[in-house]
């Protein structure tokens, strides 16, 4: 009986090992698979051309990804510029000023935000943000705008990353020892001065990690951005211009990619680009957070 139990344990452990390695290797397989599929287009055009050219004429075999990279960058930048200050202020309020009654009500709602599927954000964007921009914001700045713009994409993305940034920053702020803040207060500093000069400094690595994570989330967000960005294959020059981020490019054109030669390869290359960038950003932020954790655990 004993031998059987031990044997079962051994077999199952080998099985689980296989499953684990298989799951993890998905990362590699995905990367390799995408690269393999990108080879045709990489053979024809150099990495440099692909990344810097603005000629996007799939029929002629010209694939310049620059406008899409710019679209992604614009949308992400706008999202971070909007979200970071708002989230920092919110996190400081929640951890330092809010009475516990209010905190208990606030926090769940920020968390509920994180559960909402991206497509719902997209619908909200179309129904609320687009008209807002078209009718109330843009007229102050430009002649005409449909509202479908990188600004819309940025706003929608910002709301999507609110919970991510707030939860990480709050967690980091909560690890700052009470006595450190007391030390500053004892010197006659106000609460706000303490936040500005002590808490914020101490939390900086965590804030950076949260930002990096938020950027990588923003890069990869497909559907919500697609629905409000206008999807025009031209680099944006103002926040009211439409944009065409990389994920939107892939999502919009999968249907046609099989009929035009090399289109599929080009789109797979776009996916590969996304994969690499997000992979790197993810690792960077995880490393920062892990180092923080280690430093605090001492």
């Amino acid at each position: 009986m004993q031998r059987f139990r031990l044997l079962k344990d051994k077999i199952l452990s080998k099985l689980m090992l296989v499953l684990t390695l298989a799951s993890v290797s998905v990362v590699l397989v995905v990367g390799i698979g995408l690269y393999y599929k990108s080879i045709p287009v990489l053979d024809k055009l150099s990495w440099w051309t692909l990344l810097s050219s603005s000629d996007w004429k799939p029929m002629k075999g010209l694939f310049g990804f620059f406008p899409f990279i710019m679209g992604t960058l614009w949308v992400t930048a706008i999202a971070i510029i909007i979200a970071l200050p708002l989230c920092l202020l919110t996190s400081f309020y929640i951890t330092e000023y809010a009475p516990s009654r209010i905190r208990k009500i606030l926090v769940p709602f920020v968390n509920l935000l994180s559960g909402i599927p991206p497509v719902i954000f997209g619908v909200w964007g179309v129904l609320f943000i687009i008209p807002l921009i078209q009718n109330h914001i843009a007229p102050h700045f430009v002649e005409f705008s449909t509202g479908y713009s990188v600004l819309a994409g940025g706003i929608v993305l910002a709301v999507m990353i609110f919970p991510l940034i707030v939860s990480i920053v709050c967690e980091v702020l909560n690890t700052i020892p009470r006595e450190l803040k007391d030390a500053s207060l004892s010197l006659g500093a106000t609460k706000w001065e303490t936040i500005k000069k002590v808490s914020f400094r101490k939390a900086k690595p965590g804030i950076i990690a949260a930002t990096v994570l938020a950027i990588s989330r923003a890069f990869g967000e497909t559907i919500a951005v697609l629905m409000v960005c206008g999807n025009n294959a031209v680099s944006p020059h103002s926040v009211f211009d439409p944009g065409y981020p990389l994920p939107a490019l892939i999502a919009n054109n999968y249907g046609e990619m099989l009929s035009i030669p090399m289109y599929e390869s080009a789109l797979m290359f776009a996916a590969l680009l996304l994969f690499i960038i997000i992979f790197l950003f993810n690792i960077i932020s995880r490393v920062i957070l892990a180092r923080l954790e280690r430093r605090l655990a001492i």
Binding site: E179, S186, A189
Partner: protein
């Protein structure tokens, strides 16, 4: 015992949540002397200390009644300006908490907040306070290094220098040597003895030997009440109250 006490506590009651931590405390802290607050763990010593610079204000569920007069003014008066009160007192915690900045910036922190000092004034101030706490020679070559690189004993002296830089009148120490090695401890104890020429010093300690070495007066607190108050030698060698006798018994033998 004293005319013109620096701090005068009148019927102070502190309740946190459902627990009454301090019960009807009334005591006068004499000027420019070292006073030690002793008592068993959890009896309210630290709470009493923190009530002096209103650091209890942010504790959840706290109710404070009574008066604490500093220089004759009630610090718990609703119209009182908290940061001004806190500036009058320097607090040294159990473990040193250097601010996340350089040694120089730690000491300069207070002065920068309260005014707009010129660089030369700050330089002078930093040097003076670091010298006063015996740190100058050890750190003068690395003033802009992060404060966290110092040893614990040095950090605690830095915190003291930092506190002195805002020109307080009173120094509060909450078991401020319990995290330090014997050498650093005796350095800080000597500092306290020297500083009493200019400042009133109130220390919480559970080390009776330290209380005896350093202080002029001792307050014995038990279960949130002041049991006895008197000059050091008298209280330790000839305690009047039963409870005090019990507590110092081991020490005297």
């Amino acid at each position: 015992m004293t005319n013109n006490p620096h701090i005068s506590v009148q019927h102070l009651n502190v309740q946190i949540g459902n627990q009454q931590i301090l019960k009807d405390i009334s005591i006068n802290i004499p000027n420019k002397k070292v006073i030690s607050i002793i008592g068993p763990s959890g009896c309210g010593k630290t709470t009493l200390l923190k009530s002096f610079n209103r650091l209890l204000d942010d504790t959840a569920d706290v109710k404070i009644t009574g008066k604490v007069l500093v220089d004759g003014e009630n610090i718990y008066d609703p119209k009182a300006e908290v940061t001004h009160i806190r500036k009058k007192m320097g607090l040294l915690s159990q473990r040193p908490y250097p601010l996340p900045m350089s040694i120089y910036d730690n000491v300069a922190y207070g002065p920068r907040i309260h005014g707009n000092p010129k660089r030369s004034e700050l330089d002078e101030l930093v040097e003076t306070q670091l010298k006063a706490t015996g740190l100058w020679n050890e750190v003068k070559d690395r003033l802009h290094a992060p404060a966290t690189r110092l040893s614990i004993g040095q950090q605690q002296r830095l915190c003291l220098a930092r506190g002195l830089a805002v020109e307080p009148e009173i120094i509060l120490g909450d078991e401020s040597t319990s995290a330090l090695d014997p050498v650093s401890t005796s350095i800080i104890e000597d500092l306290f003895i020297n500083l009493k020429e200019k400042y009133t010093i109130v220390l919480v300690t559970h080390i009776l030997r330290q209380a005896r070495r350093v202080s002029d007066y001792i307050i014995f607190v038990y279960m949130g009440k002041i049991i006895e108050f008197g000059p050091t030698e008298e209280l330790l060698l000839n305690p009047q109250e039963e409870l005090t006798k019990e507590y110092v018994k081991g020490f005297i033998s």
